[in-house]
């Protein structure tokens, strides 16, 4: 699977790795906050930043902010760099998968003991 050619030097994978990992971070924050808002009325009320939409407004706003912030920081760190792309993409997939799973209500109910 590993394939490197001379052009990796002129086309660094750092910016792609940053985008990938930031996306994973955003997904995990989304899943975690959706679980938290389901599990605690206090957290749900804190996340209710736009009343007609309810806690969903806070969950998604914070998830997007975390995604964009992570992207900006990582892109700055890894600009014009070659990174351990295999490891970064593995971590990004784990975060994405956790984020996806944590949005699934039966799993949330199980984790929260409902």
């Amino acid at each position: 699977m590993s394939e490197q050619n001379p052009s990796t030097a002129t086309h660094p994978d750092g910016p792609v790795a940053a985008a990938l990992l930031a996306c994973g971070v955003g997904c995990l924050v989304l899943g975690t906050l959706s679980l938290a808002s389901d599990g605690s009325k206090r957290i749900a009320s804190l996340l209710n930043i736009y009343n007609p939409t309810g806690p969903l407004s806070g969950v998604t706003t914070i998830a997007i902010a975390a995604w964009l912030l992570a992207w900006a920081v990582l892109a700055r760190q890894w600009r014009a760099k070659q990174v351990a792309f295999g490891k970064v993409s593995f971590v990004a997939f784990v975060l994405l998968a956790l984020g996806l799973l944590l949005t699934f209500p039966p799993l949330d109910d199980f984790l929260l003991g409902h």
Binding site: M1, S2, E3, Q4, N5, S7, T8, T10, H11, P12, D13, P15, V16, A19, L20, A22, C23, G26, C27, L30, G31, S34, D38, Y50, P52, T53, G54, L56, S57, V59, T60, A63, I64, W67, F85, G86, S89, A92, F93, L96, G99, L100, T103, F104, P105, P106
Partner: protein, 191 residues
């Protein structure tokens, strides 16, 4: 031919933004598969051809449709869906209350909407990442098989998330349609 304003906005959300987003993701996935050919990538990585304008427009439009779908869903339609029904109100105007009023349909809210409202947001985030890589970092895409596989996997995840949200949205809207508001005249009958 008339429909209510809420029906019309729901149609824009699901059929225009959501439907186009899903179709664009399938198209993007086919393009990514085509561009992931190792031999072709090797040739392109040596002498990187510019990304055609139509491809840039395509990827930006794809991500734009995804964001339009989730934003219109969360901030326009969802408030109508979850509005609290006054005592004795006609529940057909309050879809969440209508679904929860019957044990046979309550699952469409408890599982369907509760999942859809969150999982949908994964799709535009992943689609934006795919669009960014394919328009700005085609060189890295061409140079590494790992980059190609990872980006394609995220595109597949975006499709999965959008498919779950779109499928559940369609089923929920069949069980308890979001409706009401003023009538919108689409076309007048000839006679």
């Amino acid at each position: 031919m008339e429909i209510t304003l809420r029906d019309f906005v729901t149609m824009l959300h699901g059929m225009l933004f959501g439907g186009f987003f899903l179709m664009a993701l399938v198209g993007a996935f086919v393009l990514l598969l085509d561009w992931s050919d190792s031999k072709r990538c090797e040739e392109h990585s040596m002498r990187l051809p510019p990304v055609p304008t139509w491809q840039k427009v395509y990827f930006v439009a794809m991500a734009g449709c995804g964001w339009a779908a989730v934003l219109s869903g969360a901030y326009v339609i969802y408030p109508w869906y979850r509005a609290i029904a006054p005592h004795g109100a006609d529940l057909t105007l309050y879809p969440k209350a209508l679904l929860l009023s019957n044990p046979n349909t309550a699952g469409w809210h408890a599982l369907g909407m509760e999942w859809k409202e969150y999982v949908a947001w994964i799709a535009p985030m992943a689609a934006t990442m795919v669009a960014f890589v394919m328009t700005k970092h085609r060189g890295a895409w061409n140079a590494s098989c790992r980059v190609r596989n990872s980006v394609m996997a995220f595109a597949a995840a975006a499709f999965l998330a959008a498919g779950i949200a779109g499928g559940l949205g369609a089923m929920i809207d069949k069980a308890a349609p979001v409706q009401g508001g003023k009538a919108v005249q689409l076309m007048r009958a000839g006679r």
